[in-house]
């Protein structure tokens, strides 16, 4: 067994891997932003104390968390054309799936973030005459976000790893880019190794960053 890396060139990376890499990043960013937005809404629903909001939000979150992500990706790819009434590409379907799926996980993070705020803060906001939405927007959520930044970022790293699962519907992400390059050049071993190294470097680097950040953002009381 000998490894030959000589076939790697900038042209190869540009023509096969780069667009996949950009899609993986795009998917991660959109799903994180969308997931945190809808996840926070779900968390507010679950903590609202009103059964008609709590029950559907809880059911949605528990359902998403008990199905394999690959199956969720397949489900959306199957159902999206029916729901939208027109065909939809694998990439667009993947983006919608990841926002929907990650919302459930970000919901649980935001829920524990909101619950980590001392009750005195909520009472103080109410005592100042703030409405529910003012209290959430100005007092609770900023602190909850700050407390949860390390966990949110760790979830984003997991999300980035999970983007490789769009393989199931044939979307062109970074892993797919490496795989196609490997097939075209007859060098699957080198390309899978390279994919593993790149994923490792990105995820390991980010997890180091999270550790540093964790010490920086801690609220000192």
């Amino acid at each position: 067994m000998n490894i030959d890396l000589s076939f790697y060139s900038w042209e190869l990376i540009q023509s096969y891997v780069l667009s996949g890499f950009l899609f993986s990043i795009q998917l991660t960013v959109i799903a994180t932003v969308g997931g945190i937005f809808f996840g926070t809404l779900l968390a507010l629903m679950r903590l609202s104390g009103k059964p008609f909001l709590e029950i559907p939000a809880g059911a949605y979150v528990n359902m998403m968390r008990s199905i394999p992500l690959v199956m969720v990706i397949l489900w959306f790819f199957l159902l999206m054309p029916t729901i939208l009434g027109k065909p939809i590409g694998a990439e667009a379907s993947a983006i919608i799936t990841f926002i929907a799926f990650e919302s459930a996980f970000f919901c649980e993070i935001m829920r524990s973030g909101i619950q980590s705020i001392p009750r005195g803060q909520i009472h103080a906001g109410q005592a100042m005459g703030m409405t529910y939405s003012q209290n959430m927007r100005l007092v609770i959520l900023p602190q909850a976000f700050r407390n949860m930044i390390p966990v949110l970022l760790t979830q984003t790293i997991i999300l980035f790893q999970d983007t490789s699962l769009v393989y199931a519907i044939g979307a062109y992400d970074m892993l797919k880019g490496f795989e196609v390059a490997g097939k075209n050049f007859g060098r699957p071993i080198e390309t899978y190794l390279a994919a593993a190294v790149i994923y490792f470097l990105i995820c390991f680097g980010l997890s180091r960053l999270v550790k540093v950040l964790q010490q920086r953002v801690a609220i000192i009381r």
Partner: protein, 255 residues
């Protein structure tokens, strides 16, 4: 839209339906196929979990060794490197590594069926996460337990064998429950190397029958049933092994 649950009774070879929904005389229905796929999912998960438990408990323990001498320090480093390596590569990429790359380096593994390779990939991936939980569990023990073991003259190995691990392994059962449920969910990546498990069944049967919704509902239900069963079994184990009067909060993992 209208339901068509009869699709499960359909033969996979011909256009006819079996009255009892199970194939006869060498013919198999989609229901037969799905149940056999469920068996593959459970087998891959069980074998993967076995590998993950053994390696995860070993590596998690190594990471907590006291830094007495060069040997224990290097074993701790080994545990740390192990966790970072297997935690930071996506599980699907790890499956491809085991399937395409590892046999090229270790010729003896060339003849391994993909079922074994996927189980190893899942096992190694999950072992990093179990190692984290085990380390946290050992860390959650009161320091006095370790000192007490030293004070009665136990060696490091003995103190782990008789004092630390019997406590720590019971503390980590709740997070191990969620890892066991995760491994069933993660076993779905086995479709990528053509192991005939539930996700591959879902993809192929959907294409053959065009009754995707019924097929996916069946598969999703089986995944949920499997995860719930594991959850109940682990809850039973937890209630049987609980240390009376000892409450420690171990952190639980992601997905």
């Amino acid at each position: 839209m209208s339901w068509n649950w009869e699709v499960f009774c359909k033969s996979t070879l011909e256009e006819d339906f079996s009255p009892v929904c199970f194939g006869t005389g060498g013919e198999i229905t989609y229901l037969d196929w799905m149940l056999s796929a469920w068996g593959w999912t459970l087998s891959v998960s069980a074998l993967g979990l076995l590998v993950a438990m053994i390696l995860g408990i070993l590596m998690g323990t190594l990471r907590t060794l006291p830094p007495d001498n060069l040997l224990t320090r290097s074993l701790t480093t080994l545990g740390n490197v192990w966790v970072e390596l297997f935690r930071n590569i996506p599980v699907l990429v790890q499956v491809f590594l085991w399937y395409h790359v590892v046999p090229a380096f270790i010729p003896a593994m060339k003849g391994f069926p993909s079922f074994i390779l996927v189980s190893l990939a899942l096992g190694f991936f999950t072992s990093a996460r179990i190692a984290e939980q085990v380390r946290a569990g050992i860390g959650a023990l009161p320091r006095g337990q370790r000192y007490a073991a030293m004070a009665v003259g136990l060696t490091t190995a003995q103190s782990y064998r008789y004092v630390i691990l019997p406590m720590a392994l019971r503390i980590v059962i709740p997070p191990l429950t969620s890892e066991s449920m995760n491994i069933i969910k993660n076993s779905s990546v086995a479709f990528a190397v053509s192991v005939a498990e539930l996700t591959l069944f879902a993809m192929q049967a959907q294409e053959e029958t065009s009754r995707g919704i019924e097929i996916y509902l069946g598969v999703t239900a089986l995944y949920v049933i499997s995860a719930l069963t594991v959850n109940r079994v682990m809850a039973f184990i937890e209630s049987k092994t609980r240390v009376p009067g000892f409450i420690a909060a171990a952190s639980s993992g992601g997905h």
